[in-house]
Symmetry: C2
Subunit: 463 residues, 2 copies
């Protein structure tokens, strides 16, 4: 945990947002794999962690916006259980570490919520994403678990986002720790990128690197020589000569802050000329995006600038044609870059995605763009100092998409389909860094994961 003043100050900031009534923060419980007591690695809810700090199951936190009081509800371990579990810290003592002095057994949370609703006070809660918490809200509020998500408080959502989106210095330090483990994961993967190696062996080994560092992976690892399949969690192939291994992976720090990197490595350690040309274009787009990222600019504009670098590079190779700006305005680059440049990063790898991507990434000024490709940009709004974002341009050759565009004549004025077809088995390249928006610009967090193509080749070749 951070110092208790951290949690007191965060809740103070939340109380200053003008909400009335009470705010419920549900902690996460254990999550069963194949029976109730066989559980996954415990993961606390991020907003609970942010405002209440305690990293174990069975808790609900409540903020009373009218009185200013904070509460934590949970049960102490039975005396008998100490024989099995060893000495346990009582809840009062744990809650005090987060600066909370009102604690009570778990069932008492029903009293406070019932009392609040009975007296007509507003009860705010965040959208639940786990079944057990939907059922708990059903019990607490007398609503149905089937519709409770739609009853979440937009007012509380917006207040939480406005605080969590600006990272404290100590949070950036935690992200830096997650990045350090992430770097080890990626270098390990590069070393293992040899012909004949099973993808799962690499993915499993680098997940072990994350776990040995003390955290989990921050999201399910993508590791595939079919990097063009964007939603690909299959690791069943063995690496083949001449292919590219795309690895998108990150770790959590001990305090559950995330890193998120992507690197693309030539299997066996040597880029072909075609691969190196595309790699250099994606790298140029990545570097350009870091340069442009600074307070006051919209991330939508940075996304489009990166898209222009990709389009210009592909035009030079003969894959695209026509005016680059016009091509990007028409969305022609999205044949090759059909996703967004990046997203916020923090306690969640897609930070606060549970609160709604539109609430996190957009606002009244910058609205989502309804065009294939840019529509998938998770963060469009104007950047502020303290934002931590990912910068992850890519270039992919997706046969199903190429065929669709060709058949339907989509953006045919900007695409040389004949040339594009020469790249059908290319795969895909993505290069992703985690960057901090500073007062004057932006900086890569921690030591950069090797990205220079010569250096990457050397790491693979050394093995």
């Amino acid at each position: 945990m951070f110092e208790k003043s951290t949690y007191i100050n965060r809740r103070k900031a939340l109380k200053s947002k003008g909400l009335k009534g009470i705010g419920i923060f549900l902690g996460n419980n254990e999550s069963p794999m194949n029976y109730r007591d066989n559980t996954y690695h415990y993961r606390q809810d991020s907003s609970f962690l942010y405002f209440f700090g305690l990293n174990f199951p069975g808790l609900v936190g409540i903020v009373d916006f009218d009185s200013g009081d904070d509460y934590i509800f949970g049960d102490d371990v039975d005396i008998e259980d100490i024989i099995w579990m060893g000495t346990q810290v009582p809840l009062t003592e744990n809650a005090a570490k987060a600066g909370v002095h009102n604690t009570a057994p778990f069932t008492k949370v029903f009293d406070i919520v019932t009392k609040a609703t009975a007296s007509g006070r507003k009860v705010h809660f965040l959208p639940p994403y786990r079944g057990e918490n939907k059922i708990l809200l059903e019990k607490l509020l007398g609503t149905s678990s089937l519709v409770v998500s739609s009853q979440a408080s937009l007012e509380l959502i917006k207040a939480v986002i406005s605080i969590r989106e600006i990272k404290e210095v100590q949070e950036v330090e935690e992200i830096k720790r997650a990045c350090k483990t992430g770097l080890q994961m990626h270098v390990t993967a590069m070393r293992m990128a040899q012909v004949g190696t099973w993808e799962q062996k690499i993915a499993g080994t680098i997940e072990g690197v994350a776990l040995a560092g003390g955290g989990m992976t921050s999201f399910p690892i993508i590791l595939s020589q079919n990097g063009e399949t964007l939603h690909n969690h299959d690791h069943s192939q063995t690496l083949k000569e001449g292919k590219l291994m795309l690895c998108d992976a990150g770790a959590e720090s001990l305090l559950h802050y995330a890193s998120d990197f992507t690197r693309t490595t030539p299997v066996g350690g040597e880029f072909t000329q075609k691969q190196r040309e595309i790699y250099e274009i994606v790298l140029a787009a990545n570097n350009k995006a870091t340069l442009l990222t600074k307070p006051g600019v919209t991330y939508l504009s940075v996304h489009l600038a990166a898209a222009e670098v990709i389009a210009a590079g592909l035009k030079e190779l003969g894959l695209m044609k026509g005016d680059v700006k016009e091509a990007v305005a028409a969305g022609a680059h999205a044949l090759f870059l059909p996703h967004g440049l990046g997203h916020m990063l923090g306690l969640d790898v897609h930070d606060m995605e549970d609160l709604g991507q539109i609430n996190v990434g957009y606002d009244n000024e910058v609205q989502p763009v309804d065009q294939f490709g840019t529509a998938y940009l998770r963060l469009g709004k104007r950047l502020k100092p303290g934002f931590v974002v990912t910068n992850e341009p890519g270039c992919y050759f997706i046969p199903a998409l190429i065929d669709k565009w060709y058949a339907e004549g989509i953006n045919k004025d900007f695409i040389n389909f004949d040339k594009v077809n020469e790249y059908r088995d290319f795969g895909g390249i993505r290069l992703e860094d985690d960057i901090l928006v500073t007062d004057t610009g932006s900086e890569i967090i921690g030591e950069r994961v090797p990205i220079d193509p010569d250096e990457v080749e050397e790491i693979v070749q050394k093995g």
Copy 2:
């Protein structure tokens, strides 16, 4: 998957159990970590896997016990999604692999269940253990997610257990594969058991070994120099000279069969005399239990025989006194061995625990024993060829338990508390193998994880 005849035969066996009405088998969905789309490793429900074989989310299987028909409900991937996910096999084709020819979109499951209940047919289902499936049953049956677990069908539970408890030869082969990865995990842990190493580094690394083998761990790893704390998932300490590292860990095979081993290793590679003496006693209990395990005997009797070996050994060391058989009958050994000898192993590490331990481990003939220690025995009933069970005796010195028994004079005629107090900081030893009940006796599955104390010392010393 196994051959489709496997699944057809298993469902045929189920249909021969005399049930009427329909049986619902809910598959598992993705399980969210910190937001809906950030999920843990996917784990299918074991009974669904057993009878329907398909290892992906979004499915419900139904067996009509009256007509003999089987159904799988689920949705095919959208054409648009193929761009992101690559080519997908249609549900009809997947279902055919399990010998099921009736498939329909997911929502159609509501029709078949509604029709069955409306016509007064019995609707059987197994106890749900995940919140999302409780909510689904609420929707399907018009009951409440809060009480649905108590409405599960004991008839279906008993029928499923009677089939799943006898392992097919191909299932034993899968368990053997899980054991092979488990062996690698334990040898890796032994090599890392050096003074000053962080427990989490070892636990994380061996979880990586499981993942690199293609499966998950079969349960959360226990790895601690405080092995006496039985429910201990804390890995925060660094290993100290003179301590024992207890590691209880196993892997899943590609088809999700489990292994489950415990070994206890001297940190730095040399047992003290005290440690070696206790180790030899636990090892003798383990070997005795394997010898006694055969068809026709109850596992309760094997448990008690292992307890006698422990008690006799401790008497020889002066820790216990009096008649060994009387001591075990009185439950005095449970100060040192407060848990059961073992449990069934299969698709789940505690096989079928979701169906109720009392249903799995006991029957009309052998009922649970209401005595501290033996009360925690998960499997008591008479053994049959094809059972796979764990054999995991242990010996622990739990200060809180010692103090309680001393204060309350529990079993004081059989315990030398003065002598016991000399072992207060000993920790604990457990030695666990996975064994198959054969037609004539039992055998350890696969290559035995190193257990000879000299061999274990050598592995640590080689590092």
